[in-house]
Symmetry: C2
Subunit: 362 residues, 2 copies
Amino acid sequence: MVSMKDVALAAGVSQPAVSYAYNKPGKLSAAQREHILAVAEQLGYPGPNIMGRSLRSGKVGAIGLMVMDKLSYAFADPSMIALLRGIGEIGELSNVALTLFPLNNQRIRKEDGKPGNTSLAVRGLVDGLIIPTMPDDHPMVRAVIQQRIPYVVVDSPMIDGAHYVGIDDRGAARQQMRHLLELGHRRIGVIVDRLNPDNHRGEVDFKRFKSSTEMIVRERLTGYVEEAEEAGLAFSDLHVFEAGGFDSTVGQAAATSLLNQYAPTAIVACSDVMALASISAAQALQMKVPDDLSVIGFDDIAEAGNAGLTTIRQPLVEKGVYAARFLVDILNTPPSEGDEPKRKIFQTQLVVRTSTRKLDQP
Amino acid sequence: MVSMKDVALAAGVSQPAVSYAYNKPGKLSAAQREHILAVAEQLGYPGPNIMGRSLRSGKVGAIGLMVMDKLSYAFADPSMIALLRGIGEIGELSNVALTLFPLNNQRIRKEDGKPGNTSLAVRGLVDGLIIPTMPDDHPMVRAVIQQRIPYVVVDSPMIDGAHYVGIDDRGAARQQMRHLLELGHRRIGVIVDRLNPDNHRGEVDFKRFKSSTEMIVRERLTGYVEEAEEAGLAFSDLHVFEAGGFDSTVGQAAATSLLNQYAPTAIVACSDVMALASISAAQALQMKVPDDLSVIGFDDIAEAGNAGLTTIRQPLVEKGVYAARFLVDILNTPPSEGDEPKRKIFQTQLVVRTSTRKLDQP
DNA sequence: CTGAAAGCGCTTACAG
DNA sequence: CTGAAAGCGCTTACAG
């Protein structure tokens, strides 16, 4: 690998002169600069090495995205893809690379409290991080804060003083539930993806609901319960089922259990993926949507429109745009005392399609 | 930022001792090591900094993916997403991060040949690269080769001695065309996404076909032409239209022009996105698929199944798996003389659904 | 098992 | 405008 030293030697100048040729053209005469670059070209010198540069300057030129679970799951999740598209739009404006960190790769502080390898491989590889939808108090998030890596949270966790992009999850969830109640439904089932990252599947009792570490789902479920209570329904009337994951397969399993056990007339799902899985499950049981079952989702991903799914629209791509923009702003502006954290709470919107209908009076 | 030096000072040991505590436990007594790690913990030392480490060791712990065009386009492209899923599956096994480099961000060698900034920001940020579907002789690919960054090509360009993952594009394309010919179609239109990255749109003449820099599309088009010629049709009988991009919008525009100008009974598309766009265009013109128009795609993305699209299935995810596996192997095995480049050519398969049918005899 | 030295490639004060 | 020095944080021979 040819380095600045080699170029300097061949050009008959000092090594810093080569650095100036690339980074501070004003410090050199035009002739000197051209000579150096010509020699570099001839030697096949590829330009300043990022590692050397960033060790000195502290800047890398990449931003990172934390990914819970496996990377391959993330790329299978439409709402994550939408977020990535949004981040990508800003990333390219700002000329940075985007690095994805699957968290299940990272070695974290040992649980037993003994001194262990607390390494977070993020450090040094990126200038800042976007943290989307992590559980409360995840050790990785603690590590990021402790290392003072600049970061922006999308959706969760809500951290005091952190830059944040999200929506009013509880309010949107109430709107979801209200829609079904207004259509006359009272026997309503709920499908959530997961309340804790422990892959638990099945019916959710009050205790598990309250102990949830996933803020987004907990907030939505809280919204469902609040809205239902105003209509005279208790938590136990709702029949909440947890899929234990984010994909269609586990969603269908959860919905099948729910339908078999409680025969609801409507299902509220905490994501479109879960809602579409519920529709598949219903169809497999020879039920027609919306004639035999109303289903409402959350997100308004592209497939929702195709499938005629009634849902809550949230600006998935825009959230990525804002998160990336916030992060780039932070990185370009040295922090000073009294800085307010940047916050953006987007509006959501009920989109009524054909998967929900008025309950026939018996 | 607390560094090894600080930890060493506080622990009363040399700085290399701290390094050993993290990386070569055998070099220290257990007591010494525990003491150092305890002090590190107490100081909030986050572990060895990647930049410092990689400057010495030459290893980063991340692999990169080159992305033509904008990052946000890539995340909108189902076949790119599938590739990413495959790469993700291996990445997590090997405990590496995945960095995406949008090429339109990268500064490349000036076209005029004058000495310029030839920087490829990739260097130093990743240990190796996956290069998917780039034009022949792209300056970025040349830069990668010149800098001796380990890389694996997916689909294109075909480079002598390069590690490679792909399919038999020409053969698969012939199969596509053969399917329509066997159904009796003779007035056949072709929709390709793009033959050159110059955003040209419209009908493609023989000269443009031959000057294409996009190997994959060129190969497929060559397959169409070869197969058609065996059935007595010339290039000019095929009415090839170029969308000038990869998304549905430009695909619909191209298909609309094709349908209006030549009223074909069948369309061969070089991707499922283009095929589905063609179906939309046909429907907008009050044509029924397959009654008035047969359409065949390429890729077999998820939407193809839902839409009943006849297509060529290629293992999109598996290509990512192999590319990542190849790269990880290369990085873990020092290269030696006489190494054969790794190659994997996957089989493809015609999947007949409901978007194609036998041409009614007039 | 332990410590002091050298150096990875670079940038940035600093002195001429 | 130009050059020599220092140092970013780390790892790896090398000597004890």
